[in-house]
């Protein structure tokens, strides 16, 4: 019989990482909340907080089991196996090899499910019914996120023995497909189902509080260390590699975005800096330990430029992806996932890098095209899977409870109408009025 040997160091790092990733969702609430107009900031934040409230219990009840339980058809794990986070055994768990108590891993994974759902909310700003959002969140995590997590990390179709097994094992270190492509596609589909905000493309709809956007970007970067370096599930040199690559990519993507803006519009904006950071973080996520420092910088630069260009697409094609879930998360996620096929680099001289068995170096590092092919196949699969299922779920909600608030309410502001509040004290109750 196996015995569980606790590694307190790895456990310490994973407890900290779990806390860090949990903080990303409020960070996102500020990143998104600062970007909307002052009349809908609370609703924007409530979509993130609501995701925390709903998804955590779902994860602890059946989500973990559905993702990491015994495989059923390559699509999903048995949701009843560890129902209620029961029937767990540290000695035989998924993470026993690194001396990690399985409950810590469950907590860590819960934070991934939460943030993925919250990411989607950026595309529905200012106009989605809050009740429909909550229903969507619960249904989507169940039928889209949990299967995707299983397929990639739980031994399903997108893992080592999955659809690309004859080509190469796909690499997704920390969630490029499960989190970013998944949320990005869902955001696009929801934005289309919802329709455009009144005034989209005509009015500026400027961010009402850019320091909040920067606060959000900072908390996201900080939390992302848990996301990427934590995905090693251990405190070792590979975690160090992920830490360094994460910082390198986020930093240079910010510079690349600013440079793109400067050339195109004449100004390097703070909104661009915040967006560039996130674009770099998104793109490096699947590649975090699979590339060397130069590879991380290359991925960061490419993602910074591509995402800076991609956020303009919505005006061209007329879908109101309000806060650029598509431009940043879908495009960034695809960029990182595919570039692994070029830049994956494990070998002598490259401290800390790691790729799974069956994966190989990228095209630029002598590994041929196989890895690139595998990455592209997985990315496309994720796009189609998430797109079709999100469309079905969104359409059913639209047909039943409806997706959107009335246009009058949208004009008055969803904070006031839906939540009965305004974010800041305004005329009539401000410092200068009433009781002085």
């Amino acid at each position: 019989m196996e015995e569980f040997v606790l590694d307190t160091g790895n456990t310490a790092w994973m407890l900290a990482s779990s806390a860090l990733v949990l903080l990303m969702t409020p960070g996102l609430a500020f990143f998104y909340g600062g970007m909307v107009r002052g009349k809908s900031v609370l609703n924007m934040m409530m979509m993130s907080f609501g995701a925390m409230g709903l998804i955590a219990p779902i994860w602890f009840l059946y989500g973990y089991s559905g993702a990491f339980g015994t495989d059923i058809g390559g699509i999903i794990g048995n949701p009843f196996e560890f129902f209620g986070s029961n029937n767990l055994d540290d000695a035989t768990s998924f993470v026993s090899a690194v001396g990690l108590p399985v409950l810590v891993f469950i907590g860590f994974q819960a934070t991934f499910a939460i943030i993925t759902v919250a990411l989607i909310s950026g595309s529905v700003a200012d106009r989605m019914k809050f009740s429909s959002w909550l229903v969507f969140a619960a249904v989507w995590v169940t039928f889209v996120y949990i299967p995707m997590a299983h397929m990639v990390w739980g031994g399903g179709l997108l893992g080592a023995d999955g659809i690309t097994s004859s080509i190469a094992t796909p690499i997704d270190f920390a969630g490029g497909t499960v989190v970013h492509i998944n949320a990005g596609v869902a955001g696009l589909v929801l934005a289309i189902l919802l329709g455009r905000r009144k005034g989209f493309g005509k009015e500026p709809m400027r961010p009402h509080n850019l320091p909040f956007v920067m606060l959000g970007a900072a908390l996201l970067w900080f939390g992302w260390f848990g996301f990427n370096a934590g995905s090693e599930l251990a405190a070792d040199g590979t975690a160090g590699r992920a830490w360094v690559n994460t910082t390198a990519a986020a930093a240079i993507a910010m510079i690349a975005w600013l440079a793109t803006e400067k050339v195109r519009d004449g100004h390097a904006t703070s909104l661009g800096a915040a967006s560039g950071i996130v674009a770099g973080l998104v793109a490096i996520t699947p590649a975090a330990a699979a590339v060397d420092t130069v590879g991380a910088l290359a991925i960061g630069i490419i993602a910074g430029i591509l995402c800076a260009l991609a956020v303009g697409l919505k005006y061209k094609y007329g879908y109101d992806d309000s806060l650029d879930v598509v431009g940043v998360h879908l495009v960034g996620g695809l960029t990182g996932t595919v570039l692994i096929g070029l830049f994956a680099h494990v070998g002598d001289n490259v401290n800390g890098t790691w790729i799974p068995d069956g994966a190989m170096n990228g095209l630029f590092y002598g590994g041929g095209v196989n890895q690139l092919l595998a990455q592209i196949i997985v990315a496309l699969f994720a796009v189609v899977f998430s797109g079709v299922l999100t469309f079905v779920i969104g359409s059913i909600i639209k047909a039943t409870m409806g997706l959107r608030i009335s246009q009058d309410d949208e004009v008055s502001g969803i904070d006031l109408v839906t939540h009965g509040e305004t974010a800041y004290e305004t005329l009539g109750t401000s410092r200068n009025f009433g009781e002085a």
């Binding site: 009965g420 005329l427 109750t429 009025f433």
Partner: protein, 112 residues
């Protein structure tokens, strides 16, 4: 000369601006205000206590015009700002003795 002041619903400002521009008005001054009137504010509940917010957000638009244009301008604003719901606001006209353009020091109608 006259000063036409309008207190309107905030979301009508864009239409009012467009209508004034169409009517040949080249300048105006805009500011934030709160209105108190027939339109009652919404009720808010904070942690179990209920309050009525009786001041509602409005926007004030001021336009200096020549005497003969005052009536037209007021009408243009009224038309553009009208939604027909309580709280649409007021427009009023006040006589003005003199106007000066700060940039040039010019007085009178030419300063508009």
């Amino acid at each position: 000369m006259k000063l036409v002041t309008a207190v309107i619903q905030p979301h009508r400002l864009d239409d009012v601006k467009a209508a004034l521009e169409a009517a040949g008005i080249r300048g105006m001054t805009v500011s934030e205000a709160s209105g108190y009137g027939r339109q009652r504010g919404h009720t808010e509940v904070y942690r179990g206590a209920e309050y009525t917010v009786d001041l509602v957000p409005k926007v004030r638009v001021e336009v200096l015009v020549e005497d003969e244009a005052a009536g037209t301008v007021a009408d243009v604003v009224v038309q553009a700002a009208q939604t027909g719901k309580i709280g649409d606001g007021k427009v009023w006209v006040v006589p003005v003795d003199d106007v000066v353009r700060v940039r040039t020091g010019e007085h009178g109608p030419g300063a508009l």
